[in-house]
């Protein structure tokens, strides 16, 4: 598997974890995933939805980009904190390969 394939698999694993968090309604395509790239196509699940999580590596950093739609059930900060712990936990258990600094770029696209 290429490094990019590996990142895509990790994105899918994280997406699974993040979407199962209470308060996360759905994931949204990241802004750069809206561009019709091969990555976006690979990230598409059978439902036809782009995954909304993008793992990339550069230098000594792992960058995790997440665009999420939340609902009203919990405060935004609570859900954000849980997203962070879920991502960190996935890295701790090896679902995502650890490597240097972890940058989580999280955007709440909507809340409703």
């Amino acid at each position: 598997m290429t490094e990019r394939d590996e990142e895509i698999v990790e994105s899918l694993r994280l997406a699974d974890s993040v979407t199962s968090i209470d308060g996360v309604r759905a994931l949204a395509p990241g802004l750069h995933a809206l561009v019709a790239t091969a990555t976006a196509k690979v990230l598409r699940r059978t439902g036809g939805e782009p995954v909304g999580v993008d793992v990339t590596r550069g230098g000594d950093r792992v960058k995790v980009k997440i665009d999420a739609h939340l609902d009203h059930t919990r405060s935004v900060a609570e859900v954000v904190d849980e997203i962070f712990s879920v991502v960190e936990a996935d890295i701790a258990r090896g679902a995502v390969e650890a490597g240097g600094r972890l940058d989580i770029d999280l955007r709440v696209v909507s809340r409703g």
Partner: protein, 166 residues
């Protein structure tokens, strides 16, 4: 317009006179009314257009600007500015006699984004006393951003800019 009638009476009609316009309008009234009733939008037409407009607007909103905040555990996040304003607007609207107008929420505190500064303008129902209501608004907004965002309000500035009558 019956030209013969005017010629025989020895006068030329003034085509820009309002009487002249009135005559032509009357004759045309029937066909104009028929034309107008033919071109009436169907409810399905308006519903379809409405749906397409709102979807395009929603898509545009998703690409809109973000506000950068931070949870109390130090986790930074961006949130669509429209969502943040919506939380404040709802809190303001829930105060009797007050309608939110312009809402601005800026990251504040140390580290920046751990609190929020809110500036807003409102319209008040005629008869409402601003002095006593301002505090109610502040409490409502403060509680809402803490409960919905999980971020405390550092400051809330309110300006009443208009009065409405129900």
């Amino acid at each position: 317009m019956d030209m013969n009638e005017h010629v025989s009476s020895g006068t030329e009609p003034d085509p820009t006179s309002s009487e002249s316009h009135q005559e032509t309008d009357d004759q045309l009234r029937g066909v104009i009314d028929e034309y107008m009733s033919t071109f009436q939008p169907e409810p399905e037409d308006t519903a379809g257009v409405r749906e397409r407009i709102l979807q395009l607007v929603r898509d545009d909103l998703y690409r809109g600007p973000s506000t950068h905040l931070q949870t109390e555990h130090g986790h930074p996040f961006a949130i669509s500015t429209a969502s943040v304003r919506s939380i404040v607007r709802n809190a303001v609207d829930s105060v009797d006699g007050i309608r939110a107008r312009s809402v601005d929420v800026e990251p504040a505190g140390v580290p920046e984004g751990s609190a929020a500064t809110v500036s807003l303008t409102v319209a008040m129902r005629a008869g409402i006393s601003f002095a006593s209501t301002a505090d109610v608004i502040r409490r409502s907004v403060s509680a809402a951003i803490l409960a919905e965002l999980g971020i405390p309000a550092a400051r809330i500035d309110i300006n009443a800019e208009d009065v409405y009558v129900d």
